[in-house]
């Protein structure tokens, strides 16, 4: 097998306040793979993604992957994180600007990225003039503008309504099928994870750890019919089961009053 796009070996993360966010996490993502991380709130999904991106240091273990500043990497944060003083075009231009490319020289990649998220016509709008879903799409366009090969997405559709979410899911999958990025996708939503992924990693909290790994063996392109198929339901049930088992295990560990600083 080719060397992984990104790999974590026995990674621990302990925050300054003593919170053990991750313990002994080992995982690898292959090039071109779409991997989802699911787990309860606070189990360390965002932490994993941030460490993968080189934001913050591990407390133990090793990460192999692109360093911060690597042009292959793009990150979509849980919130849109747009610069309110800049127009849509200027926001999408940012990664290129930081590479020293002028707006004039970046016109065509910016336009291409905006087209991919269907935001043509809003180039000169300011973030406050956009809806929540549109802001998120600007954020995605900003991630796509550098043509990244590794895309880290932290609940990008978490704040959206069900209709926008499923539409963006479908469109993201289309893009992935065409461009074959490596994607690590964090979500609370089991259906979203199953629909999008090659592989779903299930996490549990306190401390954050992997409890299961479910390969989704369904062919691409995946259509709407897949979302209602028995196979889809089977995977969703399986992941729900792993999540519940993870919660129970967490509860067993914390029979004494929970203290984040105590290692089990």
């Amino acid at each position: 097998m080719a060397s992984p796009a990104i790999a974590l070996h026995q990674v621990d993360k302990i925050y300054a306040n003593g919170m053990v966010a991750l313990q002994g996490l080992t995982l690898a993502v292959q090039p071109g793979e779409f991997v989802s991380l699911v787990g309860p709130s606070g189990c360390g999904k965002s932490t994993v993604l941030r460490l993968m991106a080189g934001l913050g240091d591990v407390s133990g273990g090793v990460i192999e992957g692109p360093a911060a500043g690597d042009r292959a990497l793009a990150f979509v944060f849980q919130e849109a994180a747009l610069m309110p003083w800049a127009t849509v075009v200027e926001n999408v231009h940012l990664p290129l600007k930081l590479q020293g490319k002028s707006l004039r020289a970046s016109r065509s990649p910016i336009q291409a990225a905006l087209n991919r998220v269907a935001l043509q016509g809003f180039e000169q709008s300011y973030p406050r003039q956009l809806s929540g879903g549109m802001k998120m799409r600007v954020s995605i366009a900003r991630a796509l503008v550098t043509n990244p090969s590794l895309l880290l997405m932290d609940e990008p559709f978490g704040a959206l309504d069900e209709m926008s979410r499923s539409r963006l899911n479908r469109d993201l999958l289309n893009l992935w099928e065409q461009y074959h990025w490596t994607v690590v996708f964090v979500t609370h939503n089991i259906y979203e994870a199953v629909y999008l992924s090659n592989r779903v990693l299930v996490m549990a909290a306190h401390p954050g750890r992997l409890v299961a790994e479910v390969a989704i063996d369904a062919p691409h392109p995946r259509d709407e019919a897949f979302r209602t198929s028995p196979l889809f339901n089977h995977y969703c049930r399986e992941i729900a089961h792993h999540l519940a088992a993870g919660e129970t295990a967490t509860d067993m560990r914390t029979t004494t009053p929970p203290s984040p600083a105590v290692l089990p």
Partner: protein, 291 residues
């Protein structure tokens, strides 16, 4: 056989509309009738009328309290003298204000570049601010005997520069954390982060500091002129106020006072306008709300 499909895109069924929302056309004449304008004018006119009425009714002598009409007449006759003095004060104010703006901004940037610089120097900025200017103005005027102008500018600068430093420092430090991460991810240099992220984030705070400092620079200049008294070669508006009160020309004193106040208001209004203009596209304080 391959079927060429259009490139996939996210959220394709979005309705298009022009991106820029046209600024609502504003009827300037109608704006004058806005309650924000008309209400304070009514209050002001009523107060002046009451004042004039009381002065006339009780026959208050003008050296105790001149009526507004007399003040207005004095203002017109004394205009050349008073206006020249006001311009001297304005000059001091403007120079001190510009110095405060530049030094405040630079110092704030320096503070945010190194925690150690901030730790070491910020307390002294505070000390400079909390020392009463009336108490140190005589010293400064003695030190700069050769040029009263420089002394007065320094006094006004001391009063004006702190709000800019403290506000801008706060602004530079409150750049959105996620955006800071994003800049780091894309390998932004320190300078790029400062220029493209921290400074724009600090803009509203900086402009807020300017609005406070503009008025303070004027107050600082006037106070320092008071302390300098009649010693200075160039006479600012405070000198006129002082001389008028010595000579019991109370209407003239009121006229000079009114001019100073109007100048202060003009400075504030001008800086507010500037702030709204620079922030109108994005900051809550300047954005026209539609809900």
């Amino acid at each position: 056989m391959t079927v060429k499909s259009p490139p996939p895109s996210l959220g394709t069924d979005v309705s298009r509309s022009e991106g820029a929302i046209a600024a609502p056309t504003q009827n300037r004449l109608r704006a004058l009738w806005h309650p924000d304008v008309i209400a304070p004018i009514i209050v002001g006119v009523m107060a002046l009328a009451l004042w004039e009425g009381a002065v006339q009714l009780f026959n208050v002598p003008p050296y105790l309290l001149p009526g507004p009409i007399l003040v207005w007449q004095t203002l017109l006759t004394e205009w050349p003298d008073l206006f020249r003095s006001l311009m001297v004060t304005l000059q001091i104010t403007v120079v001190a204000f510009l110095l405060a703006t530049v030094s405040g901004l630079l110092l704030a940037v320096l503070f945010t570049q190194s925690k150690w610089i901030e730790r070491s120097f910020f307390p002294y900025a505070v000390i400079l601010q909390t020392t009463p200017i009336v108490a140190i103005a005589p010293l400064i005027i003695i030190w700069f005997q050769d040029s009263t102008f420089v002394a007065l500018v320094i006094c006004a600068w001391i009063v004006a520069f702190f709000p800019i430093v403290s506000n801008t420092t706060l602004g530079l430090n409150s750049a959105d954390h996620t955006l800071q991460n994003l800049f780091h991810l894309y390998g932004a240099s320190r300078w790029q982060t400062l220029w493209h992220l921290r400074l724009p984030s600090a803009m509203p705070y900086f402009l807020g500091g300017l609005r406070i400092s503009g008025g303070l620079a004027l107050i600082g200049a006037v106070v320092a002129e008071f302390v300098a008294g009649t010693g200075g070669a160039r006479s600012g508006i405070a000198y006129q106020i002082l001389m008028s009160s010595y000579n019991l020309q109370i209407p003239r004193m009121f006229a000079a006072l009114a001019m100073t106040t109007v100048l202060g208001v003009l400075i504030f209004v001008g800086l507010t306008w500037l702030s709204n203009r620079l922030l109108r596209h994005w900051h809550e304080s300047a954005v026209r709300r539609e809900n």
